[in-house]
Amino acid sequence: MARLNIRTRIILLSSALLIVILGTNIYLTRKLANNSATLAEVADLIGVIESANGARVAFGEFRYWLTDLAVSMLTLSERNAAEARSRMEHLLHQVAAKKPDRIVSVRAELAQFQKFATDAVEEYTADRRVMGNSLLAQARRHSAVVDQLLGSIVTELTSEAAAARDRAVADVATATRITQGIAVAVVFMAALLTFFLLRSITLPLRRLVVAIDGLNAGNVAVPIPAAGHDEIGAMARTLAMFRDTLTERDRLTAEREHERKTLAAAIATISDGFVLYDADDRIVACNERVREIYPQRADLFRPGTSFREILEAAVVRSVPDLKGQTPKEWIEERLRQHSAPYSVAEHSYRNDLWVRVTQRKTHDGGTVFVYTDITELKRRQIELEQAREGAEAANRTKSRFLANMSHELRTPLNAIIGIAEILHEEAQEERNETVSEPVGRIVRAGKHLLMLINDILDLSKIEAGKLDLYPEEIDVAALIGELTKTTQPMADKNNNKLTIDCPADIGVMQADSTRVRQVLLNLLSNACKFTEKGEIRFIARREADRSAKWLVFTVADNGIGMTEEQLGRLFQEFSQADSSTTRKYGGTGLGLAISQHLCRAMGGEITAKSAPGRGAVFTVRMPDQSLRGTPRRDEMAAVAADFVMHNVPIGGMQQRAERDG
C-alpha cells in the first residue's frame, strides 16, 4: 500500500467502487432488458391465445353455418360460413406463427371437416339424407378434433405464457437479490477499503507524529517509521534527515563540550599562566596560575577584561622594569608586540619576579598568552653567569700566573743552567772532577726543572684547551729514521738493542709533526729508560677500518714492565711508579699524560700492555689524515672536557701557516 502515494490510493479506491457500481448497473440493465423481452413474449403469447380462441369461435360459427347450410340451404348461411371460414383462416395464420405444426394438423382436420360437411351439404341438397347424415357425422368427428386441437393449443399457449411470466418474475427476484447482495458487498468492500486506506495513511502519520513529538522532547533515539514511497514516506525521510541533523548536532555539541572541558582541564593543569584573548583583545579564558603569577592583578584576569586594561594595571600594580621607557611608551610597545603573529619576551617586575610572556595569534585573530614564571631560572642563569665569569676570570688568572711563573722561573734558570754549564765545561777542561761532578748535578737538576716547567706548561695549555696543532704532511719513514737516530744514544746508554720495523712504502700522514715526534719520542725514551740490556722494537704499520685509515706505531720493550695497578694510572699526571723511580730513571711523570692528550687531540689513542718483569708494549693509533683542513675542534673539546676542571671555551686551534722551528 505504501508503495503508492495517497492520491493514487484514493483514485484506486474510488475507481474500484465505481467499477463495481457500473458493473452492477450493467447487470441490472441487462436483466431489465431480458425481463421486458420476456414480458413482450408473454404479451405476444396472450395475442396468439386470443387469436386461437378467436379461431375456435370462428370455427364454431363456421361449423354452425355449414350445419345450417346443410339444413337450410340458404345463401346467407353459405356467406356467413365463408366469412367465418376466412376469419378463422386469418386467426389460424396468426397462431401458426407460434404453433405451425399444430396449425398444420388443425388445417388438415379442418379440411377434412370442410370436405365432409360440404359433401353432406351436397347430399342433403340432393336429399340423400342418409348419405348426408353419415357424411355429417363424419364431419362432426373432424370438427371435434379441430375443437380439441384448438383447445389444446390455447391450453399450451396459456401455460407457456404463464411460464414466461413466472420466469420474468423469478428473474426480477434474482436480479433484486443479486443487486442487494452486490450493494451489501460494495458497502462492505468500500468500508473495508476505506478502512485500509485510512489506516495506511493514519498509522504511519501517527507514528510520524509520535516521532516528531519525541524529537520535540529532545529524544533523538525515538524510532522513525521506515520510509515508504508515498508522501508520508517522504515526510519520514525528511524527519529522519532532521533527526540525523539533530543527532549530528548533539554529537558535535557533545564533542565540543568534551573538547572544551579537556582544554579547560589542560589549561587549569598547566604549570604556566594561560590567557586567551579574542579578536577584540578581551579575555575569553584564563587559568588560576596566571592569577598566582600576578597576584596584584588577580581580580583583572577574568573573561571580559581587555588587554590594555591588563597592561595599564601592570604599570600601576605589578610595577614592571620599564627599561627606561615611560609607562605610556611601555604600554604602546607591548601593544605593538601584541600585533605580531608570535613573540616571546621576558619581563621583570618588582619583587624580583621574572616572567616570560609567549604570545601567539590564533587563526580567528585572537591571541594566546602563556606566562611562565622564570624567576628561579633567571636567578640560576645569573648565578651560572657569575660562576662562569668567575671561572673564566680564575682561568685567566691561572693562565697569566702560569705564563708569569714560566717567565719568572726561566730567567733565573737560564742563569743557573748557563753558569753551571760554564763551570762544568771549565772544570772538565781542567779535569777537575771534584768540581765538574757536583756542577754536572746542578746542570742536570736545572734541566730537569726546565723539563718540568715545559711539561707543566704543556699540560696547562691542554687543560685550557689552548693546545695549538699545526697539521702538515709527514714522511713517516723519514720520521722513523730521525727518531731512531735520536733514540739510538738513549738505547745504547742501557746497552739496549733498538730494532726498527717499518715498511718502506708506508707513505705520508697528515699531522702535527712536532707533536707526533713528541709522543713517539716520549714512548721511545721511556722504553730505553726502563730496559737494560734488552731490546726495544719500534714498529710502524698502516691499518684501515670503516671510519678511517690509521697509522699504528708500536714501541715494545722487554724491560721492568708494570703491575696492573701501575698500568691503571699510567696516563695520569705524576704517575711514575714511585718517587724512587723518578730519582732512578729521571723524567717528570707528566710525559705519558701529555702524550695521551696530544694523541687524542689528533684523533688517536695510546694503549699499553705490560706485566711486571715482562716489558711493556705501547701502541699509538693515529688517523693518517688527522686535522687536515679545519682543526677537529670536537676532539679538542673532548680532550679538554676530559681533563679540564674549568668551564672555559676552547680556542687557539686556528690553522697557522707559520711553523715554529
Binding site: 714560566s406 730567567t411 733565573p412 737560564n414 742563569a415 748557563g418 715545559n454 706548561l457 707559520e658 715554529d660
Partner: protein, 125 residues
C-alpha cells in the same frame, strides 16, 4: 770573531751569556735596555743582535721593529732570547722581525748553531 750585541737587563744572564760567547771567541756588546740597544746597534755595527723581549724603556719587540726599519740595521740578524716561552710570544717576535726565537733557558749549543747559520746566510747575500 763576530761582534754580537746582547740587549738584556738581567745581570746574571748578561754575565753568563757574555762569558759563554766570549769563550766561543765572539766580541760581546751589552745594552741594558731597549733604547740603549738601538743606539749601540746603529753606532757600533754589530754583526748579529741577541735581544731579550721583556726589556725596560723599549721592549724587545719594539726594538726589533725599529731595527728592521732603520736602513743601517735592517739586514742585521736578530735572535730573540726570551723567558716569554708561550707560542704567542714567539709569534709576536717573528711578527716584529726576529730571524729566530730561542726560549730561555737557552740551549747554548743550539744558540751557537743558529748564530752560525744566520751569519752564513748573511755573508752569502
Amino acid at each position: 770573531m763576530v761582534r754580537i750585541l746582547y740587549i738584556e737587563d738581567n745581570e746574571d744572564n748578561i754575565y753568563m751569556m757574555s762569558r759563554r760567547l766570549q769563550r766561543k771567541g765572539h766580541e760581546v756588546l751589552i745594552a741594558r735596555d731597549g733604547a740603549e740597544g738601538l743606539v749601540q746597534a746603529k753606532s757600533r755595527a754589530p754583526a748579529l743582535i741577541l735581544v731579550d723581549l721583556g726589556l725596560p724603556v723599549i721592549d724587545g719587540w719594539e726594538v726589533t721593529r725599529q731595527l728592521r726599519v732603520a736602513p743601517e740595521t735592517a739586514a742585521v740578524p736578530v735572535i730573540a732570547l726570551s723567558a716569554h716561552a708561550m707560542p704567542e710570544d714567539r709569534e709576536r717576535a717573528f711578527a716584529a722581525g726576529c730571524d729566530d726565537f730561542i726560549a730561555k733557558p737557552v740551549d747554548f749549543p743550539r744558540l751557537i748553531d743558529r748564530i752560525d747559520v744566520l751569519l752564513r746566510a748573511k755573508s752569502k747575500t
